[in-house]
């Protein structure tokens, strides 16, 4: 077969047609969409595509993860820090099902992914053939869109559509399943990028009246509070957002996925809301007169008991996804559209303001939280190391420039509460699904997408072991991520609940751990363990100075708890400080 070079570089679409196999077409589609890296794991049903990848290794880098879940999370980490679409690939059956946790995580956290799975030959579909699973059926509830390809000629259109859907509007994961015969079949390939899908309107039109009404409410508010979410970051609206809050002088709090959209030190940044959020923004949610939600979805971890959530306030919701409006909290004014456009259009309608007295309330409550919680976390006087002081040391030594990839548990809450962020897209964590095992592979993807950034993973001893095999990927690919395990020898967060709500019955939360340092070294990763305060600074420095990947285990206090805390079902203003 004579190959006609139609794809000159990664951004051009092919104009002429050429006769190629389905699997070669897959690679050409990826190249046309600007993909230069993908994460995956081979197997029988996807082998033709892998065979083509061999030919294209100079153009597209395949990262062999050690488990398909790792591949999916790595693609997520890549997408989260770059804002581009992450790509993961697996074989049929177990390969495909192993991707599911990552796909579900991407769905709930609105991460753009294109996942490719091989499938048995189309003549075998439905016959319970070897490694056949109905991955389209399985992934339906956790994908933004999915499709099974049984003919090679469908490949270009489906791929173009997949990338368009994954990244447009509210982003999300898309799965393409390709039967093996479609991978072999030859056809006349031609690629055109997708510009629209008839039944799909990614961004709703903003109604000017709703914008005016929102501006009026905000201008007349005496005690306005903004709660922003990841929508600000996904919509690349950071600058517009900053301009809005600065002009209107509104205290602004973030959801876990909204973190880092504006610097932590920004004077209008009043902290995190939610179950382990900061005291002031949680309590004052039930005191503000106008609550302005921007690109957030009133998750139950944020609202606590809905029956008592911000009942006194008028609610304004800036949102790209119409299905989120009034889903959990009834709004007074909904401004549909993408955050960047609507906030830019809002700006000239706003009156300059400063709300000094109202800000004072936040400062007063911060003092209480500082005395009761923050001081003990960051400047402990008792012997054992706290998770908070590890974060403080990392902040100091990275000057808030690092991207923090956290896993799920107590350390995650501590990382999100105390990490200092100067740059956007710096807080990469599993928000909506709370997936243990997320951090290590996600850190790999993040570091590969942004090699110029310091990427530091923070995990607990539990979650670290859920995808610990990805140390192999780090070693093979030489990804210089910094791995910090805050080891409390417990599934800490569950233990905390057992202590507070199950009379200290520590059922299956104690962990007997292996020699983590030896394991890291077994993968030829430099490693160290610290158990005393006096060694922490030097250890963090050694980690940061290390050019390659580095593993740091910190033995922290076994039974520390994360406060503040809103117990499930309680009101945000009933937040406990101890």
């Amino acid at each position: 077969m004579k190959e006609t070079q139609t794809i000159k570089n990664n951004t051009h679409t092919s104009q002429t047609t050429e006769r190629i196999s389905g699997s070669e077409a897959v690679i050409k589609c990826l190249l046309a969409e600007g993909v230069d890296i993908l994460y995956g794991y081979p197997g029988g049903a996807i082998m033709p595509v892998y065979d083509e990848l061999y030919k294209y290794q100079d153009k597209i880098h395949h990262v062999l993860s050690r488990h398909e879940q790792g591949a999916a999370h790595a693609a997520q980490g890549y997408a989260r820090i770059s804002g581009k679409v992450g790509v993961a690939m697996a074989t049929s059956g177990p390969g495909a099902t192993n991707l599911i946790t990552g796909i579900a995580d991407a769905q709930i956290d609105s991460t753009p992914l294109v996942c490719i799975t091989g499938q048995v030959g189309s003549h075998l579909l439905g016959s319970d053939a070897f490694q056949e699973t109905d991955i389209v059926g399985i992934s339906t509830p956790v994908t933004k869109w999915n499709h099974q390809i049984t003919k090679a000629s469908e490949i270009p259109e489906v791929f173009a559509k997949a990338f368009y859907i994954a990244k447009s509007g509210r982003p999300g994961p898309v799965l393409i399943d390709i039967t093996k015969d479609a991978q072999f079949e030859e056809f006349d390939f031609k690629y055109e990028k997708c510009k629209g899908v008839r039944s799909y309107k990614p961004v709703p039109t903003t109604d000017e009246n709703s914008l005016k009404a929102a501006a009026e409410l905000i201008n007349n508010a005496k005690k306005p509070l903004i709660v922003w979410g990841q929508g600000v970051i996904l919509g690349k609206a950071e600058d517009a957002f900053k301009a809005v809050i600065e002009k209107a002088g509104i205290p602004s709090a973030w959801t876990i996925l909204g973190a880092s959209a504006i610097p932590t030190s920004h004077p209008l940044n009043v902290g995190m809301v939610g179950m382990h959020g900061n005291y002031a923004p949680n309590v004052l949610t039930n005191d503000c007169d106008v609550l302005i939600a921007i690109g957030m979805r009133f998750d139950d971890r944020v609202t606590g008991n809905l029956a008592t959530y911000a009942k006194q306030a008028k609610i304004v919701h800036f949102e790209i996804d119409p299905a989120e409006v009034d889903k959990n909290v009834k709004t007074d004014i909904a401004v549909l559209g993408d955050a960047k456009t609507s906030l830019t259009d809002l700006l000239p309608l706003l009156h300059p303001n400063s709300h000094t007295d109202w800000h004072q309330k936040f400062k007063d409550l911060y003092k209480i939280e500082y005395e009761k919680v923050i001081k003990n976390d960051l400047h402990p006087t008792k012997e054992g190391l706290t998770m908070g002081e590890v974060l403080k040391e990392i902040n100091l030594q990275t000057k808030g420039e690092a991207a923090i990839v956290s896993d799920v548990g107590q350390h995650q809450m501590i990382a999100c509460r105390y990490a200092e962020f100067n740059k956007t897209k710096s807080n990469i964590t599993s928000g909506g699904l709370g997936t243990m095992g997320f951090a290590l592979p996600a850190a790999i993807g993040a570091k590969m997408a942004a090699p110029e950034r310091e990427v530091i993973m923070i995990a607990g001893d539990g979650g670290y072991q859920m995808n610990i095999q990805e140390l192999g990927t780090i070693f093979q690919q030489k990804v210089p991520v910094k791995i910090v395990v805050l080891n409390n020898e417990f599934l800490g967060m569950v233990r905390q609940w057992q202590q507070l709500f199950f009379e200290k019955r520590y059922a299956s939360t104690e962990m007997v751990n292996p020699d983590f340092v030896a394991i890291a070294k077994g993968y030829h990763i430099e490693a160290q363990k610290v158990s005393e305060r006096k060694d922490l600074k030097a250890a963090v420095k050694e980690m940061i100075d290390c050019e390659g990947p580095y593993f740091l285990e910190v033995r922290v206090e076994k039974e520390d708890n994360v406060f503040p805390m809103i117990p499930t079902g309680a009101s945000v203003s009933d937040i406990r400080l101890e």
Partner: protein, 175 residues
């Protein structure tokens, strides 16, 4: 809390495999029972139409519509109350043939209910009836007395009394 009401849902979609799965999952996840379901071509070429009946509150209905419309291949979804639509259901009864001749009453029932005899043979006869749910329920009650060999009824199909601006909407999608 508002009360459950019967709603008829019309969903215009691309004619694609897998959409039934996506749509039914939306109801299933929320523990909502779908009373009846029909899918068919619509007045627009290449566009399918789902008609569903559910008993839920209006606020639930609105949220579900939002979730349905969010599906990439759904063009538009509407919900209607009972008085906003004209609807029909259809049913088939299979009954022993001897009854048709022995029970005069059955012939009256068939006549009065405007049911239609589809086929008659030595063992059984089949009658078909289209109408509103209550009419079919009534016929079912009346025939039950004599014994029904088989019974089946279709999902609801409905058109709205008011215009549904789906064609204009579709044009806008194309522009």
């Amino acid at each position: 809390m508002s009360e459950n009401k019967q709603y008829t849902v019309s969903i215009y979609t691309e004619n694609n495999i897998g959409l039934l799965n996506r749509i039914s999952a939306i109801f299933q996840r929320r523990h909502m029972n779908v009373e009846s379901l029909n899918t068919s071509p619509s007045e627009i070429d290449g566009v399918s139409r789902f008609t569903l009946v559910v008993n839920i509150t209006e606020s639930q209905m609105k949220k579900v519509i939002g979730q349905i419309e969010k599906q990439v291949e759904v063009i538009k979804a509407f919900y209607h109350t009972e008085d906003e639509i004209i609807y029909q259901e259809s049913c088939l009864f299979k009954i022993k043939s001897e009854l048709l001749f022995d029970e005069r009453q059955i012939q009256n029932i068939i006549k009065e209910s405007n049911a239609r005899i589809v086929t008659v043979n030595k063992e059984f006869f089949a009658i078909e009836k289209s109408g509103r749910k209550e009419e079919i329920d009534l016929l079912h009650r009346e025939l039950s007395v004599f014994g029904i060999m088989q019974f089946t009824r279709s999902g609801r199909i409905a058109v709205t009394k008011d215009e549904m601006k789906i064609s204009t909407l579709l044009k806008a999608f194309q522009d």
